[in-house]
């Protein structure tokens, strides 16, 4: 209902001018407005880290879609976050090559170091840990991504190095 009732002024109170401009840019290449759904979600997520209900409703309205339709798209992709995430998302590969490479124990190390399990965010809001089926770097397994950085040949030392107690940031 909230979507149906949302009017133009509501959209611009949620989406920034920059976001709308970027979405407009995508729309130039697409015959159907709804075709820009994924890009619009990515644009909004890029700036805000995740897609809130409010953002989703505004995007849906902007693209002449129902919230349900856009929700279907947003929740289908596991890299569109419909809940808040930390500053950096750890995408930890638990697929075959990494599993052979011993990813289970490495994951345990991460959990012990950061105090989070899959789907959880650290108390200081710096990291969210998520599993991912493959990162396309099987030759360098086990691997994970932290934010935009791909980190390969993981072992426990590397983990503690990355998530050193001062948590000063990621080194690859």
């Amino acid at each position: 209902m909230s979507n149906a009732k949302m009017i133009q002024s509501d959209i611009s109170s949620v989406l920034t001018r920059q976001e709308m401009a970027e979405i407009d840019h995508e729309l130039e290449h697409i015959p159907y407005k709804s075709g820009a759904a994924i890009d619009a979600l990515k644009i909004v997520q890029a700036g805000r880290g995740w897609v809130s209900d409010e953002s989703l409703q505004a995007i849906a309205k902007y693209l002449d879609m129902s919230s349900e339709e856009l929700e279907g798209v947003a929740t289908f992709y596991n890299l569109i976050y419909r809940r808040p995430v930390g500053e950096k998302v750890i995408l930890f590969c638990d697929s075959v090559s990494c599993w052979i490479g011993g990813c289970d124990s490495i994951k345990q190390t991460i959990s012990d170091t950061l105090g989070v399990d899959y789907g959880e965010t650290t108390d200081d809001n710096r990291y969210t840990l998520l599993p991912v089926p493959c990162l396309g770097a099987c030759d360098r397994a086990p691997v994970m991504m932290v934010g935009d950085d791909l980190i390969t040949h993981l072992d426990d030392n590397k983990i503690s190095e990355i998530f050193s107690s001062n948590k000063s940031g990621v080194q690859s």
């Binding site: 919230s67 856009l70 279907g72």
Partner: protein, 921 residues
């Protein structure tokens, strides 16, 4: 016809169908989930797997999906091959990983397609011992209960709700093993056709919420073939009764009418049958205004005393059966009978009846409406006035997609591919209306005009079709659209309360030269057209004329009609309080009943039998689902008995229902077809009557033992070929006598395919109903006079807006419908709202002469200049007259309705389901 081989058996199949359809047509049991005859195939559930062999030598074959594989000459398949049976069992086993074992507490249990398929594939023992996924359910409104844990991810709900019915607020979310079908956030489902989810869902995810509150198993329900009384479309329904209550309404398939689907008014609008407003006994008015309950005979004797040798007039009803109206008309004589329309309505519907008899065009069935490749709608918001027709119109715009598919050699049942191919290309539909309609989203053109201008628009289209030049580009475009079509369809109706609009629709249709031109009119009530045909000879009276004579007559009989809905209060007061004895037959308390001197408790449609004529001109029979409770009698029986007591010369010779039908059929050439509507009372199927109860109907002798341990005899039905019994056969009988569907191994409504002559075809017993009106060769005579009205500043044209929930007299007394109907409203455009500084939910005073109504504001997205709409048929708007000029003023005393008034059920739901906290606002 190609031949195929299934397990060595030679089967003749239809060219272009798929192997699943071919198997079902051949009577073979091939399990399936996601395929639906009305929605085609998407190959999502993998249940209809079978083995296809390359040739006679091929012994290994390969697994194919039945619903996705077209038949071809000489193709070889096996259902019984071990790898096929194992595959199908494995599919069910995988679905059962997450499906809860809650059948005993599930409303679907006993009529569950998943149960049937599980048994059919032979899957018995669960090997999986892990945890099952669980989901949070959503509040989806007062009609539909949501239980996501039971989902098997077949996608039928989304495909029905979104693709078929055009709903936007339900969809698939997430993916793989946490797929979720629901809304973005909790709330009332917006579609007027949401109830079909109950029948479309192969398991218990979407169930009938009002039914849950008074639940009985399918096998314990007593059913009868019936006709929906919610509007004039005449959908076939199968109400289910137990303990004297109608508990639910299910769709009853008629390939030419409603097919597989009903609207929510039809499915959920019968709750009033069990309401406290129903009458159980006849009553005579005491001097203090209360009623004294009397026996049937006493009531009849009293009435006879007031009638014998006296002047008696009568008012019939467009919501009563043809038979009851016929008896009443004969009883008092045609001149003393008014059909019970309001005078304006009598003109409109009489006009429609005349046009339908004289037009060259076809008055289409719903099935024919679906074939339209260009549609012009004049004035009508079809979704609210003839909902099931609107659902058909939604399908008609897909003909463009089917045309494209045919060019590509793509079968129409390849649903995903056809939709992908067409994207949003649709057959053209032009809607000319005063304001938004619920079909605007599929229309190619929407034109907003005041009712007078809609009529002018129609005539301009007709003129353009006749080759004249018009200065109306939109009308020219509409004319071009219709001219280019093979099966053009014009839809109009009486809801604008404007004869000119109706005439203009007829003018357009007659200006078209295509042989398959269709002209469809929406009329308001279940027997409006039947009654209009009955009085088409012009010998009957009008309400106003009757009111004038009322002081001079001794008695007035009112049949199932709340006259306060038919004329202004003054006129009706004058009619009822003229000193005349007023005898009313009705089933529930209303204003007219209160003003009567004698009341006869009429049986509801679920307790009586009768014939209705739909807007298609189709006469259809409804039968009692259960025998009348207490001292109720069907109106036709009251009137027949009354005729005997007053010794009416002609009517007292009649004994049985069939004789009344025969007499009625003789009364007018228009009604000659009535005798063929359904088999006679003497009809027997293989020696027996058709049972209303299922073979496993339980507790027949014990279900009332809480009241009395005596075992009463089953009621006898002396008037129809149906029995109140479980004995007899329910199979392949005439379509009009099919009370429910069930077949061995098929407990769910999917057993329908065993009753169909072929997939999606007519029932083996035919398509029920007889069309009374056929198109003529002469062409309609239509006046093209158009009124011009001058408005003063700050005056608006009042345009009636029929509402699916709230405008209908009877269904509005159902709690769930009343909740959805909300308060009576006034609908204005955004600009007017801005000017008056009001938003949705505020109050406006609507002043029409010295009448003033305070109504809730709704904002329209498109509206004709100087027009405002109002919710027609609501008690709050009863004083307003369609077409009148009104002024508006902000209502300062208005109280906005709180959320608890709209979503009372939601609060209750949250208390039960709640997420643990006491955070309810």
């Amino acid at each position: 016809m190609p031949m195929i081989y299934v397990d060595g058996q030679e089967i003749e199949v239809k060219k272009g169908e798929n192997i699943l359809e071919a198997c079902l047509n051949a009577g073979l049991d091939l399990p399936y989930f996601c395929w639906h005859p009305a929605m085609g195939s998407i190959g999502s559930c993998r249940q209809c797997a079978l083995v296809q062999y390359q040739n006679e030598e091929d012994t290994r074959g390969r697994i194919v999906m039945g619903c996705m594989t077209p038949v071809s000459e000489g193709a070889r398949f096996s259902l019984k091959a071990e790898n096929a049976t194992q595959f199908r069992e494995a599919v069910v086993e995988s679905l059962m990983l997450n499906h809860p074992h809650d059948c005993p507490v599930c409303a679907e249990g006993g009529e569950c397609h998943l149960q049937d398929m599980t048994v059919m594939v032979g899957h018995r023992d669960r090997r999986y011992t892990g945890k099952k996924n669980t989901y949070r359910n959503q509040y989806l409104g007062p009609l539909i209960h949501h239980e996501m844990n039971r989902c098997i991810a077949c996608y039928r709900c989304e495909r029905y709700y979104r693709d078929y019915a055009g709903g936007k607020d339900l969809g698939a979310q997430a993916s793989h093993d946490h797929l979720y079908f629901g809304r973005h956030e909790e709330g009332v489902l917006e579609s007027e056709f949401s109830g079909n989810l109950v029948e479309v869902c192969p398991t218990g995810v979407f169930t009938d919420k009002p039914f849950l509150k008074q639940y009985s198993r399918k096998w314990d329900l007593q059913s009868a073939p019936s006709i929906c009384q919610g509007c004039a479309v005449g959908c076939n329904i199968a109400p289910g009764e137990r303990y004297g209550k109608v508990k639910r309404v299910h769709n009853r398939y008629n390939d030419e009418v409603n097919g597989y689907f009903l609207c929510d008014r039809g499915r959920f609008g019968s709750g009033y049958l069990n309401s406290d407003l129903r009458l159980d006994y006849a009553g005579i008015k005491n001097p203090d205004g209360s009623f004294f309950a009397v026996h049937q005979q006493q009531a009849l004797d009293t009435a006879a005393g007031w009638m014998t040798g006296k002047k008696v007039v009568a008012i019939g009803s467009p919501r009563a059966s043809l038979e009851a109206n016929y008896l009443l008309r004969e009883l008092v004589g045609p001149k003393n009978f008014a059909p019970g329309f309001s005078d304006h309505e009598a003109d409109l519907i009489g006009g429609i009846a005349t046009i339908l008899q004289s037009t060259k065009s076809i008055n289409p069935s719903i099935k024919q409406i679906e074939t339209a490749d260009a549609v012009l709608i004049l004035g009508e918001d079809v979704t609210n006035t003839a909902p099931r027709v609107a659902l058909a119109l939604r399908q008609s715009v897909r003909n463009k997609a089917f045309e494209l598919a045919e060019q590509m050699g793509l079968p129409a049942w390849q649903d995903a591919a056809v939709r992908n191919l067409a994207q949003d290309q649709r057959s053209p539909m032009t809607i000319v209306s005063a304001m938004d309609t619920r079909l605007d989203d599929v229309a190619s053109t929407c034109v907003s005009l005041a009712p007078d201008d809609i009529a002018a628009f129609g005539h301009a289209v007709a003129a353009a079709l006749a080759g004249e030049t018009t200065d109306n580009a939109e009308a020219d475009a509409a004319a071009q659209m219709l001219k280019a079509a093979k099966n053009p369809l014009i839809v109009s109706g009486s809801s604008m309360a404007h004869q000119g609009v109706i005439n203009s629709a007829a003018a357009v249709a007659d200006a078209l030269s295509q042989a398959k031109t269709m002209l469809s009119f929406c009329v308001p009530e279940c027997n409006s057209l039947g009654l209009a045909l009955m009085v088409a000879d012009g010998s009957s009276s009008s309400l106003k004329a009757l009111a004038k004579r009322a002081v001079k007559v001794d008695a007035l009989i009112v049949l199932e009609n709340d006259l306060y809905r038919r004329g202004d209060k003054e006129l009706i007061d004058q009619l009822l309080a003229s000193g005349t004895k007023v005898i009313t037959l009705d089933m529930y308390e209303n204003g007219t009943l209160d003003q009567s001197d004698l009341v006869m408790a009429a049986a509801s449609y679920a307790e009586s039998q009768g014939t209705l004529v739909s807007s298609e001109g189709r006469a259809q029979r409804f039968y009692p689902v259960h025998s009348p409770a207490a001292e109720r009698l069907p109106s036709w029986q009251w009137l027949l008995r009354l005729a005997k007591v007053v010794e009416h010369k002609k009517l007292s010779k009649l004994e049985h229902f069939d004789q009344i039908v025969a007499a009625c059929a003789k009364s007018s050439p228009l009604f000659a077809g009535l005798v063929d509507v359904a088999p006679l009372n003497s009809f027997r199927d293989r020696g027996s009557k058709i049972p209303r109860q299922t073979h496993r109907y339980s507790g027949r002798t014990a279900m009332n033992s809480g009241v009395s341990v005596h075992e009463p005899q089953q009621p006898k039905d002396h008037e129809s070929p149906l029995s109140y019994s479980m004995e007899g056969l329910n199979r392949d009988q005439p379509a009009s006598l099919t009370p429910f569907v069930w077949a061995p191994g098929w407990n769910s409504n999917q057993s329908l395919q065993k009753f169909q002559s072929e997939v999606d075809g007519p029932l083996k017993g035919g398509s029920s109903g007889v069309r009374l009106i056929s198109s003529s060769q002469t062409g309609a005579e239509i006046s093209s006079q158009v009124n011009e009205v001058t408005l003063k500043p700050h005056q608006w044209h009042l345009v009636p807006m029929e509402q699916i929930h709230g405008s209908d007299e009877l269904s509005a007394h159902t709690d769930e419908i009343a909740e959805l109907a909300g308060r009576g409203f006034i609908a204005i455009g955004e600009k007017v709202a801005e000017k008056l500084a009001v938003t949705e939910g505020d109050g406006l005073l609507v002043k029409q002469g010295d009448v003033q109504s305070s109504l809730e504001v709704r904002i329209l997205s498109r509206v004709a200049k100087n027009c405002i709409g109002y919710s027609a048929g609501y008690s709050e708007t009863r004083e307003l007259t369609a077409g009148s000029l009104v002024s508006l003023e902000v209502d300062k005393a208005w109280q906005r309705s709180g959320p608890e008034m709209i979503a009372s059920d939601k609060a209750a739901f949250q208390q039960v389901i709640g997420d643990g906290g006491a955070s309810n606002v």
